[in-house]
Symmetry: C2
Subunit: 211 residues, 2 copies
DNA sequence: GCTCTTATTGATCGAGTGATCAACAACCTG
DNA sequence: CAGGTTGTTGATCACTCGATCAATAAGAGC
């Protein structure tokens, strides 16, 4: 009927490209990076498969770009959230709260896909490296801000950032894969951060809720 | 020549099944779990693709079994290594050394593949859960042995084991994905373990080398 | 040596994948 | 309203995957 007869309007390249990128992100978040195929994206946009191919040099780069866009958006989102925190201690606590929160599982799955698929998709592998660097830089900036403010003490923020991110990613991976399992608390991340930054014990306990 | 004319000998089902399982493990370790296909395994064994399918109810279960075999073998290997340690402190130190060692990257990649592929292969997902439980049980046993011996102090070994494994997996994933990157030391795992088990600082530093 | 069980094969199907290209048609420009 | 630019399509290719099945032949038992 109407849906069938609704021949697709012609759109500007920029607009169409944005549609495709959006559809790719949605598919990745709901069905995984491996599900981002020419046909799947085309079907979601409501367009012929050839058009998707027309807008992309190759599907491997679309997958890589999709991954990059999702992660970059997350970094921006978290950054915006942290910017509202008055102290570095609160910011770090909020960061850990957010990164360990249950609503992150969709993105965690994307990371797992990317780590696995990166072996056979070099464009994706490059993007994975880029986004890991971006996260580390972001965390380093947070830590150094705390040092400057006199809240944190550390002599190697970059190395600490790498380790904290690795720890968080590992805990998230476990939590995501063992979905539905006993929802164990994971207080060690905060304990570690407090210990390594010379904070008093409990300083990073979730102070999020409440004004 | 000889290789071509060498028509395949008939083998007992058990023998052939073992060959297939071995080939699948080798392929998984060198090219990833996703490369374990009917044709790849058949080619490695030197047999027709149909034979591999004949020995397996479905490829998804072969992939799951291959993953399980690789991880189970690793647990056995590590367990044998730790059994030689006279004290629980040394055993835990050796465990961390081994798990963080560079020669583990092949298995780490298998874990990443399994986590990603598990979403579309329920048999694999089940096996992933099983092997994660196996690792956790193993570590819990180690920790409790140390508690009984009076070397460790902890009130929740199971939760601690889960977190330590998550941390180790995350650090390994990062190290594997960022291959060739600055080989940073990752002393936090030992620091955490010492802190959580009421050990003196430095107790878990690699004492591996030397008699 | 013959027979019979069964391990093994070749051929093939159906469903995916990415990618290409001539043809079409929607829209802008004149 | 005509003409040209270009966004869009349908058809199709080459390749991969898992899976099936009749036909073959290797080897054990007699």
């Amino acid at each position: 009927m109407s849906t069938l007869s609704a021949r697709n309007r012609r759109k500007s390249p920029a607009e169409r490209a944005a549609e495709i990128a959006l559809a790719a992100r949605q598919i990745a978040l709901t069905e995984g990076l491996a599900a981002v195929t020419v046909r799947a994206v085309a079907a979601r946009v409501g367009v012929a498969p050839a058009l998707v191919a027309h807008y992309q040099p190759s599907m491997t780069v679309l997958v890589a770009a999709t991954f990059g866009a999702i992660v970059a958006a997350e970094i921006d989102e978290v950054a915006a959230e942290l910017a509202a925190c008055p102290t570095s201690v609160q910011a770090l606590g909020a960061l850990i709260d957010t990164l360990l929160g249950p609503e992150r599982s969709a993105v965690t799955v994307i990371w797992l896909d990317a780590w696995s698929l990166g072996r056979s998709n070099s464009a994706l592998a490059t993007e994975v490296g880029r986004q890991m660097d971006a996260w580390q830089s972001f965390l380093v900036a947070q830590l150094q801000a705390g040092v400057i403010r006199g809240e944190f003490v550390t002599d190697d923020a970059p190395a600490l950032a790498w380790q904290l991110l690795g720890i968080i990613d590992g805990l998230n991976a476990h939590a995501t894969v063992r979905y539905g399992d006993a929802r164990t608390e994971r207080p060690l991340v905060r304990t570690i951060a407090e210990h390594e930054l010379a904070l008093p014990a409990g300083a990073l306990r979730s102070t999020a809720a409440g004004s």
